[in-house]
Subunit: 224 residues, 2 copies
């Protein structure tokens, strides 16, 4: 009883976990099927909800994206929104999904130096630059989609990024604890940190970029 709030953050809110197939979506990159085996009406509502959410973001900023407002704007019941996306964060994550996937494709199979083909250290450098740049653009959405603390490290996209960094690090510094180093590097690229440093501390993106290059150099032991 007392743990209702907590449980709901860990277990799916409904008996049948809505969209059990959405998570993998982020991993299979080639296919562009946005609605995995969804019933016709469900798919239609899903599209309407995403469209409505996008409109609300554009109109009132990310803070205006209320679950109720989205439901109303899509002419749909509130329960439907939750069934489809689990919770607010899930909805926002779905909204970011498109750009997320594009980004993943870029560093997993795109042209070097971001994609395969360049030496690992250079790919690391490019990855940071790309992430910073991407964050600079859609910072507000990324902030809104930031999962509540207890799930910050279990979100799907994060794992893809982590795996990627681990891969590169293993090539660059084979005898280090690359898992931990990857987490360190990701910490530097945390959207919330970026927001803090640029918006609240007034640092320039250039400085953050330089900081990233320096950090990569230090971590990989490739001082210039």
């Amino acid at each position: 009883m007392l743990y209702a709030g907590f449980m709901s953050a860990v277990l799916p809110p409904f008996p049948s976990p809505q969209e059990p197939l959405r998570q993998p979506e982020l991993l299979q990159l080639g296919t562009e099927q946005d609605e995995p085996c969804l019933r016709a009406d469900a798919a239609r509502n899903r599209a309407r909800l995403l469209e409505a959410a996008a409109r609300l973001v554009a109109e009132h900023g990310a803070a205006g994206v209320t679950m109720e407002a989205v439901a109303a704007a899509a002419k749909v019941g509130k329960g439907t929104v939750f069934r489809r996306f689990g919770d607010r964060t899930g909805l926002l994550m779905a909204l970011m999904d498109h750009s997320e996937r594009k980004f993943q494709a870029a560093f997993l199979s795109g042209p070097p130096p971001l994609g395969p083909g360049a030496p690992p250290v250079e790919r690391l450098r490019a990855f940071g630059r790309a992430t910073l740049c991407r964050s600079a653009e859609q910072l507000d959405l990324q902030l809104a989609a930031e999962p509540s603390a207890d799930r910050r490290f279990t979100a799907a996209p994060r794992n893809v990024v982590r795996a990627h960094l681990v891969l590169l690090l293993r090539q660059a510094v084979p005898d280090a604890d690359c898992e931990l180093l990857a987490h360190t590097l990701m910490g530097y690229l945390d959207p919330v940190l970026i927001h803090h440093l640029t918006r609240q501390c007034g640092m320039s993106v250039e400085r953050l970029e330089a900081g990233w290059l320096d950090l990569v150099a230090r971590v990989t032991g490739t001082r210039s």
Copy 2:
């Protein structure tokens, strides 16, 4: 109107900011005055609230610390809780305050290698070890007190730690962007990350400690 939620996260919720003197509390370390110039009844209620909150944490875990429950347990109105502590996070932070201050005293003016007297790199190593150890103990409380994303980097204790790390880094690596490096190091010690790695990924604290030592070595360029 639409920004009410956002504003309340930035501005104090009441016209007269409750406890405008609490923040500095964390900075003046010698004095042990827990209730800065509070009216008698206010001080009494403050104590009762903290006691009640502590009891609730012990009984139902951090998740059971509802503002209403705390108020009821302390035989006090809900408004009083908010007037005193601003919000839930504020209450939890006040709960952690004691250990927080002890820790700050330890690295600001305690014995080496944590406190002054040891070479900076060694102090960095000790700092990480101490933080990891401390987190291992009171992880649940630290998690509960984790501020919502938009304030993760503006909490008072964080600034003390950051300043400390910047100080040490400036000595160890004078020609680096120590502000940014400090943030990187703090990222590694984030309670939420520690929780994720130890509890969810099953890593041992020893491994995290080794990772910290390695990270410090890499960042400061002092390879063994």
